[in-house]
Symmetry: C2
Subunit: 276 residues, 2 copies
């Protein structure tokens, strides 16, 4: 296949590198600024720099940009996209994005398949990309109304570049789960380091501090977009969390050890039932 | 030195193993139940099983038990403890424990030094203990009114068994910091897995889920005691956290990207200023 990647940040760059490492597909890179394209050419992550013409003959177009930019890119270039092209996004939220891209696909005659690579780092940009970023990670695919063979093409491609498993779901289920598994931990990390004790933690901290605060080193521009475009599921998840936190806080205030131990034990049971 | 360890769980057991691995001191083990003592003898973590008589000639008595049990052990056995013995606790909270043990020390003529080894695992008991549990960890020491040479003896011993650095502090400062660095993350982990989404996370989760939920596999009996005995600092820390979480939640509800990005960016700055 001739695969165009638009947006060579950590995700687009890693997909490019993984495609070159694990497949024989031709990889073409497009980026708003020039530097990542040059770096990608230099290290062999892409075969060539692309342009609008590349879209006319692409078998697959992978959108490595932020969500809104992905929609804009497709809308601005829809008329140039090959009718037999499979367009694939990589956005961390789906309900806000997939319907728009499906509509563009229906209007212009190409195919759209939603995709969320469940991998990342605390660093961004092409420099942070790596061929093995996706090893063992979940490849979440939102088929929507795409033809089954296009969905299978995307799914098997993600398996080839290292993903450990493929999950098929809907935009709504995806967004509800991601609000819990990924967005909430980022919110918690930020709220955590806002404590007045944080700057003095050194010497008093071990693995727990490190783990909770890790993703507080956040890409504020990206995550504010992701949070707001997944507003309701995330606001709900935060509220559930506050309610649960308040229950534990009340147990501590009350000071009944057996009662508090019973609350905490519920957490242990949940983890054990999950085999974790 | 002749060092008696009372309580051969993960902490007491690991101290025993580390003492045998890194020093030439004689290590004597005492435990309420017999099995850990037998296991410790078998694997060479202790030189002999101890009893009340061992306390009469001990140079150091390390309390590896839960906080209240540490106080009870010392009160019950104070009359047998060698007058030149240094008694060292290993409790995760200090304001509730150190004054009681200092008082016992003053009354019976031995020395007490507070100690919190900042290391642990999600498993408990002697079977989870290991000689290198403390490698690079913080050794937090609460000198209280102990003589300087006793404090130095404890500090240098912790360095010898692998601790990466020694921090001297007060019970109050210790408890305020630990509420933030260690207790709050355990509370967050429990509140987190209480979400109705949790049992279905598989396939939608990556490092963030794993990191936040890790310590939810909690020893409910121990931590309910630690939480309640550090009630005020922890309740305050949880409240600060809820307030910070509510600020972020409001920013998401409001939906102003720049404003939300500015809030999140503060977290990034805090992490960067800490060099993390």
């Amino acid at each position: 296949m001739k695969i165009v990647i638009a947006g060579l940040g950590i995700i687009g760059g890693s997909i490019a590198k993984a495609l070159k490492k694990y497949t024989d597909h031709t990889v073409i890179g497009i980026n708003r600024s020039r530097t990542p394209v040059e770096k990608a050419l230099e290290c062999g992550a892409i075969d060539e720099a692309g342009n609008i013409d590349s879209l006319r003959t692409a078998d697959m177009l992978i959108l490595g940009t932020y969500p809104d930019a992905a929609v804009s890119f497709v809308r601005d270039n829809a008329q140039y996209i090959n009718k037999s092209c499979i367009v694939v996004d990589t956005c961390g939220i789906k309900s806000e994005i997939c319907p728009k891209l499906s509509a563009a696909a229906a209007e212009y005659g190409f195919v759209f398949v939603g995709f969320h690579p469940m991998a990342g780092k605390e660093k961004n940009g092409f420099d942070a990309s790596e061929a093995d970023l996706f090893l063992g990670a979940s490849s979440i695919i939102i088929p929507g109304n795409a033809p089954r063979d296009a969905v299978n093409t995307v799914a098997s491609l993600t398996s080839k570049i290292g993903f450990g498993r493929v999950i098929f779901t809907t935009p709504e289920e995806h967004d509800r789960m991601i609000a819990f598994t990924s967005q909430l931990p980022h919110v918690l990390a930020c709220a955590y380091v806002f404590s007045p004790q944080c700057p003095n933690h050194n010497g008093f901290s071990a693995g727990s501090y490190r783990d909770v605060s890790r993703v507080a080193n956040i890409n504020a521009e990206l995550w504010s977009e992701l949070f707001i475009e997944n507003k309701q599921p995330l606001v709900n998840e935060i509220q559930t969390f506050i309610d649960n936190l308040t229950e534990i806080q009340s147990g501590i205030k009350k000071g009944d050890r057996k009662e508090l131990a019973a609350i905490l034990h519920r957490a242990k049971v949940i983890k054990e039932e999950l085999g974790e």
